[in-house]
């Protein structure tokens, strides 16, 4: 079942585009890790999906509906934790829970109680008096306790200590297990991305750069290290099909290929006639840095 569909979506603020012609669709039960550098447009994309922004061009459909024209119907089925605090600061935790209970017919009291206990949230304290981590936990507890069909987390790990981050992760997995919820989350913690995501979408230079199953990325890409002395310039590496990027790091060129290491070594050796190269798999963090890192 299709949950989310973006077709040729562009959006900018004032001048140029933040996002340019982004297309992808998400099926039920997928867990999408949204990657990109700060300012790449991850939050803009999430806000477009939430109907908080309108696309300049293209269409967004959530559950087959246009999210701005059907704001209430769509938002009732989405759980959303924003990067910045958006809960009413002067309400107490139990009052926020009461508000959500009213707004969402599917509110699961047992789940909410269970999470309040697990996160050790002080029910009688006002949101503004909570730590940043606690406030995010309240936001998460509220976002999941009506068992949404789509859970959207914008930088869920931001400002959380490792233990609280782990609780975020476990809560999301619980929802995945019990409700079959589809999840879209942005994160800079590659370990969390690797644990959670079934598929990655990477945004770079305003465009969708990578959109692939996580395991295909993990097994289908390699890093080739080629001595700079053996090359005229990086263009030679880039000219091979399946090369994603090539950059010089001192005396060595780093190039990422959409090939397994052995095939990669063979391809580069054959094309360039250079024997002295090394190819290996690369971890997600390393890949992110190679692709989006140094310009």
């Amino acid at each position: 079942m299709n949950i989310l569909q973006c077709d040729n979506v562009s959006r900018g603020y004032g001048g140029g585009d933040v996002l340019s012609r982004i297309s992808f669709s998400v099926d039920q039960g997928e867990v999408i890790g949204l990657l990109g550098r700060n300012g790449a447009g991850k939050t803009t994309l999430i806000r477009l999906v939430m109907g908080m922004l309108a696309p300049r061009e293209g269409t967004v459909r959530v559950f087959g509906l246009e999210p701005r024209a059907n704001a209430v119907a769509v938002k009732r089925r989405i759980g959303y934790v924003a990067e910045a605090q958006e809960l009413p600061p002067f309400l107490k935790v139990h009052e926020v829970v009461g508000m959500y209970r009213q707004l969402f017919p599917g509110w699961d009291e047992d789940m909410a109680d269970d999470l309040i206990r697990k996160f050790e949230l002080p029910s009688d304290r006002k949101i503004k008096d909570l730590s940043r981590g606690q406030a995010r936990q309240v936001a998460l507890m509220c976002a999941v306790s009506y068992r949404p069909e789509l859970l959207i987390l914008d930088e869920p790990a931001g400002g959380l200590d490792p233990a609280a981050r782990r609780q975020f992760l476990e809560t999301s997995i619980r929802l995945l297990n019990e409700t079959g919820t589809t999840i879209l989350f942005s994160s800079h913690y590659m370990g969390d991305v690797e644990r959670m995501a079934s598929r990655l979408i990477m945004i770079h230079d305003h465009q969708k750069w990578i959109d692939s199953e996580l395991d295909d990325i993990r097994e289908g890409y390699s890093l080739a290290l080629v001595p700079a002395a053996d090359l005229a310039d990086g263009e030679q590496l880039l000219s091979l099909p399946s090369c994603l990027c090539a950059r010089r790091h001192g005396e060595v060129f780093h190039a990422v290929y959409e090939l397994e290491p052995e095939a990669c070594c063979q391809a580069v050796r054959q094309a360039l006639g250079i024997a002295n190269i090394q190819c290996r798999r690369l971890g997600l963090e390393e890949m992110f840095i190679e692709l989006a890192g140094r310009e």
Partner: protein, 131 residues
């Protein structure tokens, strides 16, 4: 058996799980007929997407290392003694494969590499003799 995952290791998580089950069977920690934990019960404490665990289990079923019993969760498949022996060797084969790639990359003479392996075995025997 106790599963663990290391997201930064360079090996995809589903493969880490497959390898751990194989290793546990080869070393006798898991015996034929032993039941594997359910996907749900494993995914939360491991902090891993349940689909990843499902993928690992499906691969093991496909390779006839695990089997589905009606009404029960997954169990370790029955094996002949010969197969257990094969599996131990297969496990070692997988461990040695990356070393082989390095032998090629560093252009080390195969005889030298074999001699080194023999040396390491002998060293290890001596170490264990001391205990």
């Amino acid at each position: 058996m106790i599963f663990y995952v290391d997201p930064g290791s360079g090996v995809p998580i589903f493969r880490q799980l497959v390898d751990q089950v194989k290793l546990s069977i080869a070393s006798g920690v898991l015996q034929p007929g032993d039941e594997l934990p359910s996907i749900r019960s494993l995914s939360v404490p491991l902090g891993v997407n349940p689909m990843t665990i499902s993928k690992a289990y499906n691969l093991l079923v496909h390779d006839e290392i695990l089997e589905r019993r009606p009404g029960k969760s997954l169990v370790v498949a029955e094996l002949g003694q010969g197969e257990i022996e094969d599996r131990r060797l297969e496990q070692l084969r997988e461990t040695l494969r990356p070393a082989l790639a390095q032998v090629r990359q560093l252009e080390i003479d195969p005889d030298e590499a074999l001699a080194l392996f023999g040396e390491l075995l002998a060293e290890n025997d001596t170490d264990q003799g001391k205990d």
